[in-house]
C-alpha cells in the first residue's frame, strides 16, 4: 500500500516541477479556447458528435506582413490594384489597400474559401477586433460600399457588416457584430434588429464549404484600406480537461495547482511539526510549571474550532500564500506536541537516561543524543498525516475564496465553479477533487504503512 502512495507522490512532484515548463503562461487568465469547452476526447463518444475544435482560417488577419495578401483570392480588374500598405488600424501596422483608378462604378471581391469540418457550431467565430475600413479620396459623390459576408456553399449567405463610406480619413468600425452562433451570445446582444442576421441564423450548423470575405463597390477614383480581416474559431472542445468560464486551460490550472498544494502542505506541516517538537520536548523533559502551562495552553487551542478561526484570521490578515502557510502551520502543532510529550515522558524514566546523567551529560546532550533519535520515527508517521490535513485545509480556504486569488490551486478552481454556478460542468468539477484526494491518499497510505511498522500496539497478538 505504501508503494502506491510513493508512486502517486513522485508523479505529483514531477508534475509540479514540469507545470511551468509545459504551460509557461498564467493559467488563470490566458484564454486558449471557447469558454466552458469540454475535453477533446469527448468527441470520440456519441455525446461529443456536435463538438468543434479551435481552428484558424486566416493566419495574419491584421496584415502584419505583406505575405498576408497571398491568402486571399481577388477579382482581377484592370482598373483596380491591390497592395499591402503599412498604414493599419492596429499596432504593428499593416492593411490591405485597394485602389480604383476608374471613374465608373467597379465591383470587386476579396475572398477566402475554406472547409469547416465539424458537425456542430463553434463557440465563437469572430475574434475581436474584427473589421476596420478607412477611405482615401472618398466623398459623398464618390462613396464606397463595403460588405463583409460569409457564404455557405450550396446554402445561405450571411452579411456580417455593411458600411457605406462617404468620407475619408477615419476608420470605420462595426458595432454589435455577431461573433458567435451560440444562443447565449445572441441573447446577450439582442440580435433582432441590430444586425442583419435573423434570430435563428446559425452560420455554421454542420460541416461544409464556405467563402469568407468582403465586397467593395467603388463609385470613382478612391482607395480603401481594410484591416482585421480575420476568421478563427474557438471550439466547444479543447485540450485534455477542457476550459473554464473564461476559456482558460483547466489542465494547466490543475497542474499548476499541484505546486501550491505541495508547497503549502509540506511547509505548513513542517512548521507545525517543528513547533510541536519544541513544545513537546520542553513539556516532556522539563516537567513541572513549564509542562503544566504548555499543556494547558495546548489543550485550550485544541478546543477552539480550527476552520472558523482560520477564516477569521485570513479575513483579517489578508489572503496570500505566506499567510496561508503561517496560519495553517500555527494551528497544526497541538496533536503532535502531545504525542512527543508522552513519548519523552516515558523515555525520561528509562535507565539509559539515568546512566547518561550519572556520567555527567548535560540537558542538551541528552536531548540530542538520546531522546531525539527515539522520537524521530514518530515524526515520520505524523508528517504523513498532517500533510494531507494541510493540503485539505488550503483547498478548503481557497474554495471559500480565502486563498491567494492570483495563484492557481485546486481549491481556487472549485471556487470558480461555485462563482460561475457551473456545477454541471463535470470536466471542471471532478479533476481537482480527484487530484486532492489522490495526493492526500498517497500521504495517508504511506503513513498507515509506517504506523503498522512502528506502532507495536497494532501488531497482531501472537
Amino acid at each position: 500500500m505504501a508503494a502506491i502512495g510513493l508512486v502517486i507522490l513522485s508523479i505529483s512532484v514531477v508534475i509540479a516541477i514540469l507545470a511551468p515548463v509545459v504551460f509557461p503562461f498564467d493559467p488563470l487568465t490566458t484564454q486558449v479556447g471557447g469558454s466552458e469547452a469540454l475535453p477533446e476526447w469527448v468527441m470520440n463518444f456519441p455525446d461529443g458528435y456536435y463538438l468543434s475544435k479551435n481552428m484558424v482560417v486566416i493566419n495574419d488577419p491584421s496584415f502584419n506582413h505583406p505575405a498576408a495578401l497571398q491568402e486571399f483570392t481577388y477579382t482581377q480588374v484592370p482598373s483596380v490594384s491591390y497592395s499591402w500598405s503599412s498604414h493599419g488600424y492596429n499596432i504593428p501596422q499593416g492593411s490591405l489597400q485597394i485602389s480604383s483608378y476608374s471613374s465608373s462604378p467597379v465591383d470587386v471581391r476579396v475572398t477566402k474559401a475554406f472547409h469547416y469540418p465539424f458537425h456542430g457550431p463553434p463557440k465563437k467565430f469572430l475574434i475581436e477586433p474584427s473589421f476596420a475600413v478607412i477611405g482615401t479620396g472618398v466623398s459623398p459623390s464618390q462613396p464606397v460600399l463595403v460588405r463583409f459576408f460569409i457564404d455557405r456553399v450550396g446554402g445561405a449567405n450571411y452579411t456580417l457588416w455593411t458600411t457605406n463610406m462617404t468620407s475619408s480619413g477615419t476608420w470605420h468600425l462595426p458595432l454589435n457584430l455577431l461573433v458567435s452562433d451560440q444562443p447565449d451570445f445572441k441573447a446577450s446582444i439582442g440580435i433582432v434588429g441590430r444586425t442583419t442576421l435573423g434570430a435563428n441564423a446559425v452560420i455554421f450548423p454542420t460541416d461544409g464549404d464556405y467563402v469568407y470575405g468582403f465586397e467593395a463597390t467603388f463609385h470613382g477614383q478612391s482607395t480603401i484600406n481594410v484591416d482585421n480581416l480575420g476568421l478563427a474559431f474557438l471550439g466547444t472542445a479543447y485540450g485534455v480537461l477542457g476550459t473554464d468560464a473564461l476559456g482558460a486551460d483547466l489542465l494547466a490550472q490543475n497542474m499548476w495547482g499541484t505546486r501550491i498544494s505541495l508547497l503549502v502542505g509540506l511547509v505548513a506541516s513542517f512548521l507545525g511539526i517543528g513547533i510541536g517538537l519544541i513544545v513537546g520536548l520542553i513539556a516532556g523533559y522539563k516537567s513541572g510549571l513549564a509542562d503544566e502551562t504548555l499543556m494547558r495552553f495546548t489543550d485550550m487551542i485544541l478546543v477552539i474550532p480550527v476552520l472558523p478561526l482560520l477564516i477569521v484570521l485570513i479575513a483579517v490578515l489578508g489572503a496570500s500564500i505566506y499567510n496561508l502557510i503561517l496560519v495553517i502551520g500555527l494551528l497544526s502543532w497541538m496533536g503532535f506536541a502531545r504525542v512527543i510529550r508522552s513519548q519523552v515522558l516515558s523515555l525520561k524514566e528509562r535507565s539509559f537516561i539515568e546512566a547518561a546523567k550519572a556520567s555527567g551529560a548535560g540537558t542538551g546532550r541528552i536531548l540530542t543524543r538520546h531522546i531525539f533519535p527515539n522520537i524521530v520515527s514518530l515524526t515520520y508517521v505524523n508528517l504523513a498525516l498532517t500533510v494531507p490535513a494541510a493540503i485539505l485545509t488550503e483547498a478548503a480556504l481557497s474554495f471559500l475564496g480565502l486563498g491567494d486569488p492570483t495563484t492557481p490551486s485546486w481549491g481556487h478552481i472549485l471556487n470558480d465553479v461555485e462563482l460561475y454556478q457551473a456545477a454541471g460542468s463535470w470536466w471542471w468539477v471532478l479533476p481537482p477533487g480527484i487530484a486532492i484526494a489522490l495526493l492526500s491518499l498517497s500521504f495517508v497510505l504511506m503513513g498507515y504503512a509506517l504506523d503498522e511498522i512502528f506502532n507495536p500496539r497494532l501488531r497482531r497478538r501472537r
Binding site: 485544541l302 478546543v303 476552520l307 485539505l392 461555485e418 454541471g424 468539477v429 481537482p432 486532492i436 484526494a437
Partner: protein, 331 residues
C-alpha cells in the same frame, strides 16, 4: 481524585477557556486599524448619522482607551449582545434565532453526527473482528478515501450527479422559495420536502465524519480484542455478538467519546463548507457571507458562537468520560 473533584476541575478549565476565546476574539479584530476599519464598514455613509459606525467605533475605534473598549466588548459578549449586522442593520441575535440560522445548523450537525457515529461505530466493530478480510479492506479503503476527499468537492459532485443530472434532490437551500410567498404547507408535507432538501447536505457531512469513527473504533477494538478476558469470554462459550458489542466495545468506547468531542471542531469546519456549497442558510454560511461584506459584528459573533459550541461539546464529553471511566469514579 473523585468524580466531584474531576467535574470541578473541568468546570474551571471551561471557564478559563471561554475567557481565552473572548480575549482572542477581541485581539484578532484589534489587528484591523480602527478608524480605517470603521470607515470601510460604513462605506461612504455619514459618520454621525450611522448607527453601525457608532457600534464599530465603540468596539474598535481607537479614540477610546483600550480598557474601556475591552470592558464594553467583554460585557456584550457575556450578555450575547452582538449588535447589528452591517449588511442589513438587523440585530445579529434575532437573525440567528428567529431567522432560523441556528436551528438549521443544529439540524444539519445533529443528523449527520448521529448517522456517522452509528454507522461508523457499527462498521468499525464488525470489521475489527474480521481483520484483513475483504470486508475489512473494503471498508477501511472507503473510509480512508472519504477521509481524503475534500468535503466541498463531494458536495459539488453530489449536486452534479443527484441534483442536476438525475434530478432527485434540489441543488440547495432549506425550503422552496415559493413557501415564503404562498405560505407553508402542513407539517407532514413540510417534513417530506425538508427531508429532500436536507438529504444531500447531510449525506455529504456524514460521509465526511463516518470514516474517522470507523477507523478509530476498529483500532481500539483490535487492541481490546487482544486482551485476555476476551479469550476467557470465548472459552465460556459466549456468542460472538455478545463478546463484540457487550464486552469489548464497552472498553473501547472511551477513546471514541474523547475523539467525538475533539472532532466537533472539525465537524463545524465541515458544516461551514457544506452549508456554503449547498447554499444552506445556517451559521456557517452566514460566517462565509459576512467575510465578503466585511460584516465584523457577524464575524465576531459567529466565531464566538462556534467556539462556544465546541467548548460546550468538549465539556459534555468530559462529563460523560468522567461518568463512564471507572478509574475516575472509584478513585
Amino acid at each position: 481524585m473523585t468524580l466531584r473533584g474531576y467535574i470541578a476541575r473541568r468546570i474551571i478549565f471551561t471557564i478559563v477557556l471561554v475567557l481565552f476565546v473572548i480575549v482572542l476574539n477581541w485581539l484578532i479584530f484589534e489587528v484591523m486599524p480602527g478608524e480605517q476599519g470603521a470607515l470601510l464598514a460604513v462605506q461612504g455613509q455619514a459618520k454621525h448619522t450611522s448607527a453601525q459606525y457608532d457600534f464599530y467605533a465603540a468596539q474598535f475605534g481607537k479614540n477610546k482607551p483600550p480598557l474601556d473598549r475591552f470592558v464594553e466588548y467583554f460585557t456584550s459578549m457575556l450578555t450575547f449582545n452582538f449588535g447589528k449586522s452591517f449588511q442589513n442593520q438587523q440585530p445579529v441575535v434575532a437573525q440567528m434565532i428567529s431567522g432560523g440560522k441556528l436551528v438549521n445548523t443544529l439540524v444539519l450537525l445533529g443528523s449527520s453526527a448521529v448517522l456517522s457515529i452509528v454507522i461508523g461505530i457499527f462498521l468499525g466493530v464488525v470489521v475489527s473482528y474480521k481483520r484483513k478480510s475483504t470486508l475489512d479492506n473494503f471498508w477501511v479503503t472507503t473510509a480512508l478515501t472519504t477521509f481524503s476527499l475534500p468535503t466541498f468537492w463531494m458536495g459539488l459532485s453530489f449536486i452534479f450527479i443527484f441534483s442536476l443530472s438525475l434530478g432527485w434532490f434540489p441543488p440547495g437551500g432549506v425550503v422552496p422559495s415559493v413557501w415564503y410567498e404562498n405560505g407553508f404547507p402542513n407539517i407532514f408535507q413540510q417534513i417530506i420536502t425538508r427531508a429532500q432538501y436536507l438529504f444531500l447536505p447531510v449525506l455529504t457531512l456524514t460521509l465526511f465524519q463516518y470514516g474517522g469513527y470507523l477507523l478509530l473504533t476498529r483500532a481500539t477494538m483490535i487492541e481490546t480484542l487482544g486482551e485476555d478476558y476476551i479469550v476467557t469470554a470465548r472459552a465460556k462459550g459466549l456468542k460472538t455478538r455478545t463478546i463484540l458489542f457487550h464486552h469489548a466495545f464497552k472498553n473501547a468506547s472511551l477513546p471514541i467519546v474523547t475523539a467525538s468531542a475533539l472532532a466537533f471542531g472539525a465537524l463545524l469546519g465541515g458544516a461551514i463548507i457544506t452549508e456554503t456549497v449547498f447554499n444552506y442558510p445556517g451559521l456557517g454560511r452566514w460566517l462565509f457571507d459576512s467575510i465578503g461584506y466585511r460584516d465584523f459584528p457577524v464575524m465576531q459573533a459567529m466565531f464566538y458562537i462556534l467556539a462556544l459550541g465546541t467548548i460546550i461539546a468538549n465539556f459534555a464529553a468530559d462529563l460523560v468520560y468522567g461518568v463512564i471511566d471507572p478509574r475516575i469514579k472509584y478513585q
